[in-house]
């Protein structure tokens, strides 16, 4: 149990790298699709809805497998520069996680945008603020504050999702845990250590989000 701890801790770094990269890209993707969802053009709107429906309606495992095993099959892709990225399981995992969390994030942000009272936007307009500034300086900050609790859940779900990287040969926390279990046949001990590390991360994320919620709450 003690000897496995350093190994698992080392693997935690991989998990954290995967998590932070996919959350970073996923946030932008989610914001982009949330804005598309609010667009009045029915085709753009449907496109963004279809994206989020497909990625939320299928398991993350399928998405990773399509990207890692499936895309390599297309001959044309192998000749382009994209192949440099797509042959690495690390980048495939990040692409899959980004697309997945992007879909969930777009839903969270969309509902946050929709809960903004029209009066706030109208107030901005009557003060002579341009639409662009209203969007960047009024709508986005309010939407971010509104979506904090739901986004915190999404971060935790994504952290658990990164465990699937172990299915495409990446040695993240779950991957290393599985390796140790299958070599030592001590599933319970390894589960306690690895699970403890995951729980610790959940605990930290939970509290950071709670702190941010408090900091940016409307009543101060």
């Amino acid at each position: 149990m003690i000897t496995s701890f350093p190994k698992l801790l080392g693997a935690t770094a991989v998990t954290l790298k995967l998590l932070s990269a996919s959350l970073f890209f996923g946030l932008f993707l989610g914001l982009f699709f949330a804005i598309l969802r609010l667009n009045k053009n029915i085709f753009i709107n449907k496109f963004a809805y279809g994206y989020s429906y497909i990625f939320r309606g299928t398991p993350l495992l399928v998405q990773i497998f399509i990207i890692y095993f499936g895309l390599g099959q297309i001959e044309y892709l192998r000749t382009t520069f994209l192949w440099v990225i797509l042959k690495e399981p690390y980048w495939c995992a990040i692409i899959a996680f980004t697309l997945n969390t992007g879909a969930y994030t777009s839903e969270i942000l969309r509902s946050a945008f929709q809960t903004i009272k029209p009066g706030i936007i109208e107030a901005g307009k009557s003060l002579g603020i341009s639409n662009k500034i209203i969007f960047y300086k009024i709508q986005i900050p309010i939407a971010i504050r509104q979506s904090l609790p739901a986004y915190g859940n999404e971060i935790i779900l994504m952290m658990k999702g990164t465990s699937l990287a172990s299915t495409v040969t990446l040695m993240d926390l779950t991957g290393v845990a599985k390796y140790i279990i299958s070599t030592t046949f001590k599933p319970i001990e390894v589960f306690i250590v690895a699970g403890g590390i995951y729980l610790f991360m959940t605990f930290i994320i939970h509290n950071v989000i709670k702190y941010l919620e408090k900091k940016y709450s409307f009543q101060q």
């Binding site: 398991p59 658990k160 279990i181 995951y198």
Partner: protein
């Protein structure tokens, strides 16, 4: 399209049975989850701090640890644990549990944690007066729960339970790592022998979308049924 043909030439019938297996595992896991929720929801709502702690421990740990890790625990630790229990009763032969039971137990425990939270929320949002009125009318605890609280609770719980169902359905794809032949595993086998992973994994995605779509429609009907009178 000939890849999907039924019979010996294609993978249609295999994938069809795999889809049935996914549905079977999901339903079993959901029922196992309800069973766990039945135990842990009262613990979470109990007046006693120790019981609260046990309930909270279950939901926090399961919801904070990746599903895959729980499945590995069951897959590698399951038969060991059963054999240990059996050895107490004097049975020392090797026992192997089948992948269906391990898988649906593992997913069931995960789905149970989510169901517990849903039921807790639903019960807590029922007006206190309902409990008191039942008491005043001299209805015993059993009748109070089954005739008064449960019907009201179900209406509130169904939308959230449909989320739990979706999560459970998607989680079953993870059991493929234990070798149970459900959609994901069958696609993996088909992709391996035909060297066409793109097609088979995309088809798996379509199957999952179909399952979530159909179950959504059914749940909406159920929701309408339980919201009669509102």
């Amino acid at each position: 399209m000939e890849l999907l043909a039924f019979g010996k030439t294609g993978w249609g019938d295999e994938l069809f049975y795999a889809t049935l297996m996914t549905i079977a595992v999901s339903i079993t896991a959901m029922l196992v989850g309800f069973f766990f929720a039945l135990i842990f929801t009262p613990l979470k709502l109990s007046k006693y701090k120790t019981l609260n702690l046990v309930g909270n421990f279950y939901t926090t740990v399961i919801r904070g640890v990746p599903e895959l890790l729980v499945i590995y625990l069951f897959f590698f630790g399951g038969s060991g644990a059963i054999m240990y229990v059996a050895s107490i009763f004097g049975y020392y032969e090797y026992i192997e549990i089948n992948a269906f039971i391990t898988g649906s137990m593992a997913i069931g425990i995960i789905s149970g944690a989510y169901s517990t939270e849903v039921f807790r929320g639903a019960i807590q949002s029922i007006d206190k007066g309902q409990f008191e009125a039942a008491k005043v009318l001299g209805i015993n605890n059993f009748g109070q729960f089954y005739k008064i609280i449960l019907p009201q609770m179900l209406r509130l719980a169904i939308p959230n339970l449909s989320n739990v169902w979706q999560i459970t359905l998607k989680d079953t794809s993870l059991i493929s790592v234990t070798g149970l032949v459900e959609i994901m595993r069958q696609s993996y086998i088909a992709a391996g022998s035909t060297r066409d992973p793109l097609f088979f994994y995309s088809f798996a995605a379509v199957l999952y979308l179909l399952l979530t779509y159909v179950s959504m429609k059914l749940i909406n009907k159920l929701e309408a049924r339980y919201s009669r009178g509102y």
